[in-house]
């Protein structure tokens, strides 16, 4: 446990110097999307056939979805190139393993760090949502842990994948074929029910659709009947991700 804390401490220390770099992807970019799509496009939708989406303005519909999607994107950014760097380019892990730290500590430290990173992003974003006036219930604050869970559900399997890669060529492929399609079609910008049947099934197999649905019901205050399943799917990804990352990291670092 203490070893894990030491690894986490390392990440926090690095972050103190580099936090500016990730600011744009994590904060500014989603806020810009919220302004352009939520307000600009929202005013078009208000004149369209449905006027409101799920009973609320398009801005209020979009905001919780963007919160969850940002967690996914942060996970992608944090668990691809930085992991490759620590494994191969900077050899940070090799340095750590030359001390009493274990691979379990490395993994624990990474998970802790990812959770912290996700929480920072989610809390900031939540404050932005309050300023935009899209938060109407106290329960909405629970969107923050939902976003963190979603971030871990994407981050840990991606980390497991990154630990198997010797080149960075696979990362853009994940970005193009998993992250961007989910961002655009996973229920963030329009209700998932408007997708073709097959696409809906695929979407519900991913953590994002569930996290978006749960965050949205918390923000808008609708029914939370399926909360259990909306938590169970991302949680399953987290558990499988931890196990997989444990295996691939060990295989990579212990030769």
């Amino acid at each position: 446990m203490i070893g894990t804390w030491r690894v986490l401490e390392h990440h926090l220390m690095v972050y103190r110097r580099t936090w500016k770099g990730g600011m744009f992807v994590s904060f500014a970019s989603p806020i810009l999307f919220l302004a352009a799509m939520g307000i600009g496009l929202g005013s078009l939708i208000a004149r369209g056939p449905v006027r409101t989406v799920g009973g609320v303005s398009y801005l209020a519909f979009l905001a919780p979805g963007l919160l969850a999607a940002t967690a996914m994107q942060t996970a992608f950014v944090e668990e691809t190139y930085p992991i490759m760097a620590k494994l191969q380019w900077l050899r940070t892990y090799d340095g750590m393993l030359a001390t009493p730290l274990t691979i379990g500590n490395l993994l624990g430290g990474e998970i802790g760090w990812l959770a912290v990173r996700q929480a920072i992003t989610a809390i900031t974003f939540f404050i932005v949502l309050v300023i935009f006036g899209t938060v109407s219930s106290v329960a909405a604050v629970l969107m923050i842990p939902v976003a963190v869970l979603n971030g871990l559900a994407f981050g840990l399997p991606i980390m497991a994948f990154s630990a198997t890669q010797r080149k960075d060529k696979g990362f853009p492929v994940i970005g193009r074929f998993i992250i961007t399609p989910l961002f655009l079609l996973g229920g963030v910008f329009f209700p998932i029910q408007r997708l073709p049947q097959l696409a809906q099934v695929i979407a519900w197999l991913t953590p994002l659709a569930h996290s978006v649905a749960l965050a949205r019901s918390l923000a808008i205050g609708g029914s939370n009947g399926s909360a259990a399943i909306h938590l169970a799917v991302p949680a399953t990804y987290v558990v499988v991700g931890i196990a997989a990352a444990g295996i691939t990291l060990r295989r990579r670092l212990v030769q």
């Binding site: 500014a28 970019s29 939708i45 369209g48 056939p49 193009r176 910008f189 329009f190």
Partner: protein, 268 residues
Amino acid sequence: MIAILAGRRPAQVPAARRASHLVERNAILYRREWSLIVSGFFEPLLYLLAIGYGVGSLVGSAVTLNGHPIPYAAFVAPALMATSAMNGAVYETAFNFFYKLKYVKLYDAVLATPLGVADVALGEIVWALIRGTLYALGFLIVMAGLGLIASPWAILALPAAMLIGFTFAAVGTAASTFVRTWQDFDLVLIVMIPLFLFSATFYPITLYPGALQLVVQLTPLYHGVDLLRSLTTGSIGPGLVGDLVYLVVLGGAALLLAAVRLQRLLLK
């Protein structure tokens, strides 16, 4: 034998033939990485599906052009095409160019051959244009297949997309000469993402308050979007001339700046 005066070096005129060899080098690389090229088609199509049709079903016929409602997908598609031309050109120049310039020192090797700085810049911009043209062509074909083209003027959308690609390739090359570290690319994104979101991409510029409309009209992607949208929807007007002049002037100025900066960077 000529005595040399300090600092006098005639600017080299680029030779198309020499520049073409750099294009060939990139083609050799991408012959192997063809999947990268193909997947580049993917993103604008996804946006078209998600925003044009998914969100479009919420918008209905709320968008009008010259008083007539048009399908939202037909409204958004040319804007996505312009954005894709911008993105492709900037990534290929600013990011790849920086990588080759600073990281792998590729151009140090190239400049030891008969190729000069101007040839290098021209070669990279031409390469970016070739890729961009392929993407634009693919996207136009998809638009036609989906019935999103309302006018024969759309045939000019291909050269128009090439012009947008040229302008942003020149801007990207110039920008890359100012970049010192990878962190500086955040600045490039900080410019590109707002351009993408606010250049009347997803809704008519008339939705903005008057002052903001003016600001948007000062930015480059807006003119690209306006140009392509006019052509594919067939709403041809005098505004097109303004779009063309803006893009040509900006591209030319950026090209000049890039050439001067590169000369200074590579020939110390």
